[in-house]
Symmetry: C2
């Protein structure tokens, strides 16, 4: 209610219970909240699981005081533009046929962003990782190169006590433990053959194969993280640099605010 008062907020729902809860809160507050129906088009996260269920719930939103039915929303599975478009078009048509106006059809995700135009029913697309790109997009999806990735973690080699491994000052509290199907916890831009094979909380454990350059204590390295989203969430501040010069910084406003 507090957020709805001070911002242009839309929310999603995928159940009658949530629709009823939103409706009674908005009625008490004297507000009208735009609601989209979350659609599970195959990613098996949240969302109603069929176009028929989408229109049934859309009708419930339309009938609920304090709410305004606004449209459909999905986070699609990867490589699924044709299927996503078919699903959303069927739900759109069913809504129209039952007299509901579908103002917004919101698609999302970075993996399918480059084919987002194939989801012709969509009126908007919400990409997240896209703003930075990361190692998973480059090495799993094949988009761009590591040099294109804007989110970079600067770390330093702090220990080389054994010949077969060394340690950098970036661990799971910096790079997160997200693997996303990749080997290793990030890619070192200056030495792409080095492997960050393990993490403790404050340290990354690194192996340099023969011929890949010998790590020197004190050496600064640039790491492209596996998963930009969760790494951003571990920092209070992101520095924006161009050609090695910091031009500005951004505070990560919402991080840590999960309680």
């Amino acid at each position: 209610v507090a957020l709805a008062r001070r911002s242009d907020m839309k929310v999603v729902a995928d159940s009658k219970q949530v629709v009823e809860g939103l409706s009674s809160a908005m009625c008490r507050a004297g507000l009208e909240l735009p609601v989209l129906i979350e659609c599970d088009t195959g990613a098996q996260r949240c969302g109603v699981t069929s176009p028929a269920d989408a229109v049934t719930l859309a009708q419930a939103v339309d009938a609920a005081p304090g709410l305004k039915f606004k449209g459909l929303m999905t986070y699609p599975p990867k490589n699924s533009t044709a299927r996503t478009n078919a699903w959303l078009t069927e739900a759109f048509d069913l809504c129209k046929r039952s007299g509901l106006d579908v103002e917004t059809v919101s698609n999302g995700g970075t993996p399918d962003l480059y084919s987002a135009h194939e989801v012709t029913i969509a009126t908007e697309h919400r990409p997240g990782t896209y703003i930075y790109s990361d190692r998973s997009l480059v090495e799993i999806q094949g988009f761009g190169s590591l040099a294109d990735c804007a989110l970079r973690v600067h770390a330093r080699v702090v220990s080389h006590a054994a010949p077969d491994r060394c340690v950098i000052d970036a661990g799971s509290k910096t790079l997160s433990s997200d693997l996303l199907g990749l080997n290793g916890y990030g890619r070192v831009l200056e030495h792409p053959e080095w492997e960050i094979y393990g993490l403790s909380e404050e340290h990354g454990h690194l192996r340099a194969p023969p011929g890949s350059g010998e790590p020197a204590i004190g050496e600064r390295v640039t790491i492209i993280p596996n998963h930009a989203c969760v790494v951003t969430n571990l920092f209070d501040r992101i520095y924006a640099a161009r050609q090695g010069r910091v031009e500005t910084f951004y505070d990560v406003a919402a991080r840590g605010k999960v309680q």
Copy 2:
């Protein structure tokens, strides 16, 4: 230097490069910094890899202006008290024999805390997870019960759109992706048979086996995280409650300060 000025700080070193860097910084600042030699007693993190290397580096610290040799420090591997004690005792004796005073022998880790007294050479023990305990200590190490775990994440069932899964509002930005060899991303205290089988960033994906209690949208659940340390690091504030009543809170002062 700033920290050393305002606090009783000790640091560790496992290389000549770090000793030289610390020495020159402390000389410039006109300070004397206590330094312990980090010893790799088998955990393969940081640390010199033999007692002979420990005493060589201890002598370098002792000779370096601006530094004071203080003792030995290790983070030991699990279930290794006898080996850890033998390693540290050998290094201690070598230091003594070369005329160095070993004031502190610092052991650490929660998994071996209950046998810490067996490391008779240690003068202190640094346990981390112990303050809270977590699912990994209960289910892997066999210490205490889930009900003993003080760090708890309260989450809510927000979706149950398909019969075979539901979604809670705690994902990898709340529970972290740390598995530590466990199945699932945390244990639901009220329904220990429920399985948090997957995480997206803001959502946990939950399966309730037949007979384990049907999740209800809006139901609040208490999650014991796999790994207390990294979960603490995801929150700005920890609330301290006794019998369901919040008595105080603690700001997580150092989190997000990795840049």
